[in-house]
């Protein structure tokens, strides 16, 4: 596995051993509406059995990265115009979204996106759409999230934010993924709940060997559970390294200051960003 120290380069894909990497993005470029360039040659690797955190400020392109991986871009007039996405040894750059789920990846979208008018149980059944038989998996998910079992007949739209996030994760598990992708699972949750959700993520990884790619604004929390971290800015990876090192490295804490110098742009916008970022770390 990668032991690259924290660096300012974006040579992520090259550093991970090809055999051990479940998901690899090679210089992926994404354009929305034929004109809006959002990912500018992004490379990253998610090693099998690890938790990888993808961090970055608002608008960096984190969600776009996950959409490129899960094949949701066409539904948003977006397109991978360059580079490749390789999952489990297979080039899936142009694969249909539904087919990717069958290949073993699940995405929990930003904002949870539970099926509001469906019951908790129906949400889970919908999550198992690609599976022939979902009866047993239902029990497994209920066992993992006992709270969900208690409210299996409740309408999902009326659950609390934390409950909805558990449901979203449970629903993603119903597809029996090898890779679970989570887009800001802590969004809008109280600190205690954030801790609980991250506890679940860690357990999924250690108890069930699930490979996880998680996007977070809450960098500290994410780097606590992750094995490896990537920081992206304006559609590129600008920093990466083992989570333990990133956590300790002062560069990471000062990261956003450093970037301001690199770009040499000191506009008002950058200052505003700086303030936001400081809160972010």
């Amino acid at each position: 596995m990668s032991t690259t120290p924290v660096t300012g380069t974006s040579g992520a894909a090259a550093t991970a051993a090809p055999g051990g990497s479940l998901l690899t993005l090679n210089n992926v470029e994404v354009i929305y509406d034929d004109v809006i360039l959002v990912l500018r040659g992004l490379s990253l690797a998610v090693p099998e059995g690890k938790i990888v955190a993808l961090l970055g400020s608002n608008g960096a392109g984190k969600s776009t990265t996950l959409k490129a991986v899960s094949g949701l871009l066409p539904s948003e007039h977006g397109e991978v115009t360059d580079g490749s996405v390789v999952f489990d040894g297979q080039d899936i750059t142009r694969m249909d979204a539904a087919e990717r789920v069958k290949q073993g990846m699940s995405l929990c979208m930003e904002g949870r996106h539970v099926f509001e008018h469906l019951s908790v149980a129906e949400n889970l059944v919908a999550g198992a759409y690609t599976q022939k038989d979902s009866g047993e998996d239902l029990d497994v998910v209920y066992e993992f999230f006992p709270k969900l079992a208690d409210m299996r007949n409740r309408v999902a739209g009326y659950l609390s934010g934390g409950e909805q996030q558990m449901l979203a994760i449970g629903r993603a598990l119903m597809a029996k993924p090898k890779l679970l992708m989570l887009d800001e699972p802590s969004l809008g949750l109280a600190p205690l709940l954030v801790q609980e959700i991250f506890g679940y993520i860690k357990r999924l990884n250690t108890e069930r060997g699930l490979t996880v790619l998680v996007i977070e604004q809450n960098a500290r929390r994410a780097l606590e559970v992750a094995d490896h971290g990537y920081i992206m800015e304006q559609g590129r990876i600008v920093l990466e390294g083992p989570a333990a090192e990133m956590r300790e490295n002062p560069d990471v804490k000062e990261f956003y200051l450093g970037l301001g110098e690199e770009g040499g742009r000191k506009s008002y916008r950058d200052v505003k960003h700086y303030k936001r970022r400081k809160r972010w770390l």
Binding site: S70, A98, V101, K102, H113, H117, L118, Y129, R171, A175
Partner: protein
């Protein structure tokens, strides 16, 4: 009293057929957000498909129904594939125009092959009548009620229990999230159109049997609008309540007041409802959390 009972049975039978017709409309609207102005023509085409199989090709009843179902499914899928899919993302008015165009096209095709005169078709449902509390109730209306109830129940079970039914409701709720579950939105759209065509076929066969196989079926199908406005564009239970209400209202108005008024009254209701409760009585509430 006997008039009352009679009107009620007629009204319920009409209403049950309306509920079936409206079910198709609601399915399409819920899953694909398309307002299908051709739903009445789906009934018309359904009735003539069945007529073709049963009378022209002289197939046995069961086979004729199966033939109708197969053709209706095909028509539904083709309409989605060839007409609606290229329109994805266009503005709603253009899509409505397209479905209006489709309705004219379907009506013309039926006219082209069968002319405008009613076709004679032997009765499919048992004829005769029974006496209930002094009222003479035609047996075929009772059969209509029974068949509609069975079909509506089957659809409800499909939506509540089956994998595909739940997937359809999931797509209606959140298309992108459904895609992340490996649900093919295109396939669900095609399924919605096919199911709508099949429910319209059944409504069309029933209408053809209790009234006549003629162009009026399309006009009857137009009544889905008051029905869905009353019940809610996206509510399956609403189609039943809306259908029965409009059916009864029409028959009672016709029996007690004036048959001419009866053809207008559903649209009066439509306007009133739009004024008072634009989302219909059972329209799905948008769940908003803070």
């Amino acid at each position: 009293m006997s008039t009352f009972l009679n009107l009620m049975v007629y009204g319920l039978a009409d209403g049950a057929i309306l509920a079936l017709a409206a079910l198709g409309f609601v399915l399409i609207y819920k899953a694909t957000s398309v307002i299908n102005f051709a739903q009445g023509e789906f009934l018309l085409v359904g009735a003539y498909m069945f007529y073709t199989a049963f009378v022209v090709l002289q197939l046995p009843l069961v086979l004729a129904v199966v033939f109708g179902v197969v053709i209706a499914t095909l028509i539904g899928v083709l309409v989605e594939r060839l007409i609606l899919r290229p329109m994805v993302g266009e503005n709603p008015i253009s899509i409505i125009m397209v479905t209006i165009g489709l309705s004219i096209f379907l009506r013309s095709v039926v006219q082209m092959f069968y002319g405008t005169r009613p076709q004679s078709q032997p009765a499919v449902l048992p004829t005769g009548s029974v006496n209930v509390l002094g009222a003479t109730i035609p047996v075929n209306r009772l059969w209509v009620l029974l068949i509609a109830a069975v079909v509506l129940t089957a659809f409800t079970v499909f939506f509540r229990r089956s994998r595909h039914g739940i997937a359809m409701r999931a797509v209606a709720d959140d298309q992108q999230a459904a895609m992340t579950m490996g649900i093919s939105v295109r396939r669900i759209f095609a399924m919605a159109w096919a199911l709508a065509a099949v429910s319209a076929l059944i409504a069309g066969i029933l209408l053809g049997d209790i009234y006549a196989v003629d162009q009026n079926i399309a006009a009857f199908g137009l009544l889905v609008f008051p029905v869905v406005i009353l019940g809610g564009l996206d509510s399956v239970p609403g189609t039943i309540v809306g259908g029965l209400t409009i059916g009864l209202l029409k028959q009672f108005t016709s029996g007690y007041l004036d048959p001419g008024l009866a053809t207008v009254i559903p649209y009066v209701v439509l306007v009133l409802i739009l004024l008072v409760r634009p989302y219909g009585i059972f329209g799905e509430t948008r769940i908003e959390r803070v």
